[in-house]
Subunit: 579 residues, 2 copies
Amino acid sequence: MFRTPVADISLALRAADGDNGGVLADVPLDAILGEAARFTGEVLAPLNRVGDREGVRLKDGAVTTAPGWKEAYRRFAEAGWTGVSAPEQYGGQGLPVMVEMAVQEMWNAGAAAFAVGPMLTVGAIEALAAHGAAEIRATYLPRLVAGRWTATMNLTEPQAGSDLGLVATRATRAEDGTYRISGQKIFITYGEHDLAENIVHLVLARLPDAPPGTAGISMFVVPKFLPDAEGTPRARNRVVAAGVENKLGLHGSPTCTMVYDQAVGFLVGEENRGLACMFTMMNLARLSVGIQGVGVAERAYQTALAYARERRQGRGFDAERGPSPIVAHPDVQMMLLRMAALVAASRSLCYACAHAIDMSRRGPANERGAWADRASLLTPVAKAFSTDAAIEVASLGIQVHGGAGYIEETGAAQHLRDARIFAIYEGTNGIQAIDLVTRKLGLRDGAAVTEFTAELRGIADALAMSNRPGIHETVAPLRAAISELEAATAFMSEAAARDRRSALYGASGYLRLFGIVGGAALLAKSAIVGGDDRAGLAAIAKGRFFAQTMLPEASSLRAAMMGAGTAVGADGAALLDMT
Amino acid sequence: MFRTPVADISLALRAADGDNGGVLADVPLDAILGEAARFTGEVLAPLNRVGDREGVRLKDGAVTTAPGWKEAYRRFAEAGWTGVSAPEQYGGQGLPVMVEMAVQEMWNAGAAAFAVGPMLTVGAIEALAAHGAAEIRATYLPRLVAGRWTATMNLTEPQAGSDLGLVATRATRAEDGTYRISGQKIFITYGEHDLAENIVHLVLARLPDAPPGTAGISMFVVPKFLPDAEGTPRARNRVVAAGVENKLGLHGSPTCTMVYDQAVGFLVGEENRGLACMFTMMNLARLSVGIQGVGVAERAYQTALAYARERRQGRGFDAERGPSPIVAHPDVQMMLLRMAALVAASRSLCYACAHAIDMSRRGPANERGAWADRASLLTPVAKAFSTDAAIEVASLGIQVHGGAGYIEETGAAQHLRDARIFAIYEGTNGIQAIDLVTRKLGLRDGAAVTEFTAELRGIADALAMSNRPGIHETVAPLRAAISELEAATAFMSEAAARDRRSALYGASGYLRLFGIVGGAALLAKSAIVGGDDRAGLAAIAKGRFFAQTMLPEASSLRAAMMGAGTAVGADGAALLDMT
């Protein structure tokens, strides 16, 4: 039985929000988290296995979700969970992104294949609120916020994945000011389903006179059913699901091939500026994917821990006699603590990113720009580090189970299958690394990143001042690791400007280094802020374990990253070209 | 289309065999490898996807394998591939274990779910040849060697996995000198199938008067059909497959629950000494599992490389204009080279272990003991490092594919699903680490391990003397990493004797350190030995990449490993006990 770690989440949120509770000051946090945890346990967690086992069915263009999913979605929408962070003028609760991410984490721990649907709707609400015309906003936003309609992102085409400049879906202007969209999109999450009364596709397409590449892409709203003047869905639009994918995981989530054949669309933002609109949606979606990682990893951890407490084999180190629960074995403890520490560090990174987004919107006006830069800096790290961590945690979860982990009925394997996509979609983790190195390090001539590392130093100083037991041991490894990050940042900033080759070869290693050091420091912040309750003591234990067993990686990551370009060399590249 | 890397395999074998070709001197290596590669490409490789998709079916106690599997097995057996290393007196070819492992690597690259069946038969041949009574050997071995019968290992029971002391299957003595076996065994690979005319189960069970724990376990041969005096399978024995597991991967391989109900069994070896018999089989099986990792990783690498050469997105670093094949992107190159280097290092480790086994049997009489120790030392490392590497390589293979990697039709995901069990069965990798630290480091008072690290130093010296281009860069990282391994070994040897707690907490980290350093050095040996052909140049490129990007991990692994016991601490352990 999955139990949401409300106290851990609450502590991590408070640590990320800072001592004086900037963003969360007026939020009834305990009530919201408690209610979301209850909903997760009662309604979502039971969906997880049935969704995996039954998957979805496509027949005559209509997708049927797994048994129980429709009813669960109805309750989700009725409880108002789609609107947590949506603007109040459209029926949302206008709560901070920090709260949005905390509840999204829970939905993902409950049933990740379910959570990915509402997550995209939240992103679409962001995009339409920012770029939609007044009449689009008036018609679409209240229904999306209420969860009566859901939304999708239509970017990928067979020839256009990471490279959106290759998008070929065509848009033509109709005489009434609307557009006609034709083309094929693939990998469309919840592109078709039976959960809601309408589906709103945000589609990237190209006008006949558009310039080539990314400068010629426009964004359109294409509803499954065209709403009438009152907003009631009426005529079926010419967009159909032509197929659903047979995927490694997330079986409960329909991943559709969508075919547009002169479908009616409405422009969002300006012509040829669609990518900017999409990025509004995508940045939040990237953080949400990091959060997906946190949620699935948390559940994988709990599954493994519960099994390790039950399963008896051998004699544990301190045990008088066997068989002991395998949690008594040192090697199993190492795996479980690594899982716990990775979950906690990922959570801290993601919440710090969410906090920066909130401050960029709600903070003092003269600080908003700097917070927006902070959010831009942390987004690729939160996304990539947390999703890599989720894959590792889920894989360790299988290992803790031994042979039973390989049997699907146990449920451990599903977490790995589900989590594996997180490192790929919304920009592969390799693309996150390129984004970090080539775009984010240069923000405000490097001030954004140096301010962040200075803040990490401040955390280390605060740790050194703390007299809570178990904290002191984290100080030296953290300071050493921050120095490695600073050295790597200096190297990378220089390389990004002058030796792009080294920057690109070392980018993923640099991102991992950034994530480990940032995650360790932000996790340690929870250890400082926490009390003597279980969550507070756990934060100390996890922070210490992370610092002592994972921060030593920092120096080797820096060394490997700096040498990466050389290491590939001409012969390495030749190896890959040879047959 | 999978192409066996015959030249790479041949070079790695020659490097492992040493300059004067001790073991392989009289072996027609090219002919055997070429024929095995042809068989792999033509017969086995096409089975892989159909086995995964169709799986196996159990009906009325009979398992049906996937379409095409029966015919492929018939050809496999007829070609004599089961008998490669089996004794000539039983119809085998009596070839070295090195050759056995090289062809097993190919079978696993072709279709791992197929290969695991013959692999267990080879292990059973070893066990019966060493411990079987004369009449058992005469009846069973020729038929197993010819592949007409197959064999299984029956160790695991629901309550007895890693802890064989808990085995509860009962054996009673019958008046005719045979035994009656009753109980339930789970996770029995190829416990039931339609490929061969008989199935020979090697079963661990407990006599009524047996002492408790592992000292009271006996081993029995329990055939599915009892052979008559001429060896023809006749009466159906009282052993049935009661279920097949729904697994994450290896779908083509039936994993059965076997129920024994007064089944007729024949003792192997002495009563209560069954574990010793089983370990004869298991040590070779552990190396074979390492080889499974190498085979599946090689195929995952080839799949990813082929995709990366085809798929065009973005503009590669040196490209004039896009879209370029994604292999032109630095991040993709880093992933592919890491995959290639991990495959090559794992292969070198496994072949070195196989070479030690061969030398312990065929080498000069006065050296055999030392070689046996070397094999004992390397077995857990070859098994655990290679299988961890396979999981990482298969996961990277998915990542290289991007979104397509998550779609089952691509085939990339299957490699991860298949490989995931390798780190678990035949002793989890955690158990391999405990074996290495608590049993293997103490061999000959530590001389076995110090002789090995001295040999690694010798390789580094030889590298320093080589004037082949691209080799020199590996010397300094390798020497530094060997020093880390030596320091870690000194710490561990001390800890294993006096501070068992630190030894157990650090064991997995130590094994990984051992594998990285050993793998790097043994791979570098291929670079020295190789010529200027593609395989020789590739060995240099992979060795250099491994040394420059992975050997820096050695220092952090040593630091983390030494601190592991402290890092867990009382609060960490408490965290895991709390609810």
